[in-house]
């Protein structure tokens, strides 16, 4: 048994995925200057309320890569948490998304928010971020990136 495990350990570099979930709260208003006031109301409905509204977003960051033979890990979780504290929570938590530069040109729908968070995490050097999934509410979620297991 020990001999078999020994051989497997030396030859196999299995690829696994690790997902960390963060929570942040932010407000937004769905509105575009490309539409008339009436069109905005028609397309975005109650999300067009000029005063905005907010969500507790659940953000799942999925990293993919070979499991390091020394640590048994795809990524140092502490490093990911430090990155997320600065670049995810530090940037978006407690904010009004419409006021941020990232959403000056694009509507802060959760589709666009998910794309932005995916872009932000491409700057993480500890492991490859393959997917971002954001739950806007318990009923809506959005994903950007690859489907794990297809790589």
């Amino acid at each position: 048994m020990a001999g078999l495990l020994q051989t497997e350990r030396q030859s196999a570099r299995p690829k696994a995925y690790l997902t960390r979930r963060y929570r942040l709260s932010a407000s937004h208003r769905l509105h575009t200057d490309a539409y008339s006031a009436e069109q905005n109301r028609a397309v975005y409905g109650k999300c067009n309320n000029p005063h905005g509204h907010g969500h507790n977003y659940g953000i799942e960051v999925t990293l993919g890569g070979s499991v390091n033979a020394q640590t048994g890990m795809v990524c140092d979780l502490g490093e990911l948490d430090v990155f997320a504290r600065t670049h995810l929570l530090g940037r978006f938590d407690g904010m009004n998304l419409n006021t941020l530069d990232e959403f000056r040109e694009v509507v802060p729908t959760t589709e666009n928010f998910t794309r932005e968070v995916y872009r932000v995490f491409q700057g993480f050097s500890g492991a490859k971020v393959v997917r971002i999934r954001i739950e806007e509410t318990g009923n809506n979620s959005f994903e950007v990136g690859e489907e794990p297991g297809r790589g």
């Binding site: 048994m1 690790l18 640590t71």
Partner: protein
């Protein structure tokens, strides 16, 4: 093809320790997880299998049978055990640290080929509700 997922839970103790490293290195890399007295989690296992629906039974697999397989192959071995001390794939000398990633891989190896009529698609292991690892059999 249909994907079907069955959940199971186990509660286990573990710690992270690389025998090739000094105590100082272990503490630096693994932090509190290197405490040799161990700590524990309520793990949630989600096993997803892929297969065709049997035209007569309407099943991909018999869920009761899948439940029994998970119980026999995984839960009975891991639940209320110390993974480093009592589970052979993580024992001293294997060099395999019972991280969430390695637990997912080990469970895949325990289940592969043991589920009649369906293909193992994914093993997902939640260490906590904000952290999980997945393995799809990729090398």
């Amino acid at each position: 093809m249909i994907l079907l997922t069955r959940k199971a839970e186990f509660s286990s103790a573990h710690y992270y320790w690389n025998e090739a490293w000094t105590e100082e290195e272990n503490r630096r890399v693994f932090g509190r997880c290197a405490n040799k007295n161990g700590h524990g989690h309520n793990y949630t296992l989600e096993v997803t299998v892929a297969g065709e629906v049997d035209p007569v039974s309407g099943f991909v697999v018999d869920l009761k049978e899948l439940k029994e397989i998970l119980q026999r192959e995984v839960v009975s071995v891991y639940d209320h055990r110390h993974l480093n001390l009592e589970v052979p794939e993580f024992a001293a000398g294997t060099g395999t640290i019972p991280t969430t990633e390695n637990i997912a891989i080990a469970i895949w190896r325990r289940l592969e080929g043991k589920i009649p009529g369906a293909k193992l698609h994914r093993v997902r292991v939640y260490e906590r509700d904000d952290l999980f690892a997945e393995y799809y059999g990729e090398r």
